[in-house]
Amino acid sequence: MPKQKLDPLPAAAFQILLSLAEEDLHGYAIMREVADQTGGRVRLGPGTLYSSIRSLLEAGLIEELDSREDPSINGERRRYYRLSPTGRALASAEAARLADLLRVARAKKILGGGYV
């Protein structure tokens, strides 16, 4: 099966990378973290979430960890994912790219606020 292209990085994939920046999470926790970091605007459905995770795994941007239980939910075992060094670098590059865009937008007075 061919890999899904991650260039440019789709918004959902970028959100997933960001959600894993601080800790390893399982699928449902990633969904909740993404919802949190977008103020509830983005709720990744199972299909989108796992197809993105799959692409990210194939591209080596995240790694799958051994499955374990999440005591805060219930006794079911869950697969956890971790941001790989490559993934962190890519997320960082993507953030820088967006920051550049922001700077341009501000310079052209399309967006208010302070300098990024």
Partner: protein, 494 residues
């Protein structure tokens, strides 16, 4: 149910994705199902799921079939293009899956059409189920609980049991105000409940709201009923009888009131008309309002055999005549062995003759009203200080027990016979339609006495004898008392 549906939907994904992440996706769906309760959140969940399907399905299938994906640029060249996506024939599982999804979609359309139907004609009838065309204003103003389409029946006692099937549309609205959606509309979009059952449920809620004595509890019960319905729990009932039992359990779980009950009857429930009531009243009055015997027995002992405490508005004159004719006795025996109850107003009226000052006649079913006190002293009555005996049997019940209980507690009567039936709080029955009804206790008063009332246990007589011997025993007791205390023979308080 929801999980099964999603499991079917998962079949739409390519096999390799399903194998790799099908369980994960299902687990995520379960997690959301568990965390996102309530109508709006559930709707949002399903919206997300379908949106997710619309977005991720084409992408995943394009990945699974690169030739298909590659075909798009070719199409732009203007030439039609046909590609075979699978080399192998369709799997039977895929066919079954397709059928199941088609059926689910059709069922969804039918359910939506059914629920949207009542929305269109803008005349929701929350608590109503009768065929009479009903002005929505009528039930709202009809707090007496009589049928809105019919004139008020003359019989007060009977009007209770006749109480509303067309109960308050207004209160149905008030009830559902917490969910900001009118009761008639709550059904729309909520989980697939048969419209017939939805109507019964709405009627039960409207009746509860209008009639249950504790409105806070009524609201909690109504919320629980709606929540159960939305969670799809109601769909578990295989038939109408089970459905009635399920609603009863749901109501009792929240209220802990064992007298709340949804009743299902396979044979049509009787539907009395005002003519029936008029006929019944005429029969009762011809029957002397069930004042069966008014006699003066040897030793000037009065004997009143009363088989029902009918409403004073219908039977007050006969009651007054009976009590007046017994005014000069030295002792009085009330024979309630065949009494099946009635109104507490008649209990108060008869008791009025037995006191020289107003006494509170406690009725566990009724919050105190002015009629809860006796209108003692009754001018001209000589009975206020005469010994009183009450004869009971194991079938003496309801208002007859109230009379017995209050006079016993007030130490005004000696109770002779058997332990009574023990029916204190039984709910008033409200007919919903030909097969469903709901029993709702309408009031609960604070017991002024330091012990529980007679509900479920009956009243224990002061002298326990078989009902058949009660009169004989009472006569012996009365004569003994009169002999022991002859002063009461001469004593005349007036």
């Amino acid at each position: 149910m929801s999980e099964r549906l999603y499991r079917y939907l998962l079949c739409l994904y390519p096999t390799d994705f399903r194998r790799a992440h099908g369980e994960d996706a299902l687990q995520l769906f379960r997690d959301r199902l568990r965390d996102e309760t309530g109508f709006l959140r559930r709707m949002r969940l399903w919206f997300d799921i379908f949106l997710d399907l619309a977005i991720s399905l084409p992408r995943l299938h394009a990945r699974a079939h690169p030739a298909f994906a590659a075909a798009f640029p070719a199409r732009s060249a203007g030439a039609p293009l046909f590609l075979i996506l699978e080399d192998e024939p369709l799997r039977p599982a895929a066919l079954v899956c397709g059928c199941a999804i088609t059926l689910a979609a059709l069922a969804l359309i039918v359910i939506l059409a059914n629920h949207l139907g009542p929305l269109r004609n803008l005349s929701p009838r929350a608590g109503d189920s009768e065929v009479h065309p009903i002005n929505p204003q009528t039930p709202a103003t009809n707090r007496a609980g009589t049928h809105p389409a019919l004139p008020q029946p003359a019989v007060n006692a009977a009007s209770e049991s006749f109480a509303s099937t067309g109960s308050g549309f207004k209160s149905g609205f008030a009830q559902s105000a917490n969910s900001a959606v009118p009761a008639g509309i709550t059904s729309v979009g909520s989980s697939a409940l048969d419209p017939e059952r939805q109507r019964v449920l709405d009627a039960v809620i409207a009746n509860l709201d209008q009639h249950y004595f504790d409105s806070a509890v009524a609201h909690r019960v109504a919320d629980a009923l709606v929540a159960h319905q939305r969670s799809g729990a109601d769909a578990l009932a295989a038939n109408d009888k089970d459905f009635a039992a399920l609603l009863t359990t749901q109501m009792r779980d929240v209220s802990h009131d064992m007298h709340l009950e949804v009743v299902y009857s396979a044979t049509p429930l009787p539907k009395p008309s005002p003519q029936d009531f008029a006929k019944m009243l005429a029969t009762l009055q011809k029957d002397n309002c069930l004042f069966r015997k008014v006699e003066i027995l040897p030793g000037n002992i009065g004997y009143l055999k009363l088989d029902a405490f009918l409403a004073p508005s219908d039977c007050g004159a006969i009651a007054t005549a009976a009590m007046t004719s017994l005014n000069h006795v030295n002792a009085l025996i009330f024979d309630l062995r065949d009494n099946r109850g009635g109104t507490s107003e008649m209990v108060s009226l008869i008791s009025s003759y037995l006191f020289d000052h107003p006494e509170y006649m406690f009725d566990p079913r009724r919050v105190p009203t002015p009629q809860s006190w006796t209108s003692s002293p009754v001018p001209g009555s000589r009975l206020a200080n005469k010994p009183v005996f009450i004869l009971t049997s194991s079938t003496t019940i309801s208002a007859a027990e109230q009379f017995t209980y209050d006079l016993k507690m007030l130490k005004r009567a000696t109770v002779i016979g058997e332990v009574t039936a023990g029916g204190a709080h039984a709910g008033v029955f409200h007919r919903i339609d030909d097969h469903f009804g709901v029993a709702i206790p309408e009031n609960r008063a604070v017991n002024p006495y330091s012990q529980a009332d007679w509900e479920g246990v009956g009243i224990t007589p002061d002298i326990k004898v078989p009902a058949a011997l009660a009169l004989k025993t009472a006569l012996q007791q009365a004569r003994a008392e009169l002999q022991k205390n002859p002063s009461s023979l001469q004593h005349d308080s007036h």
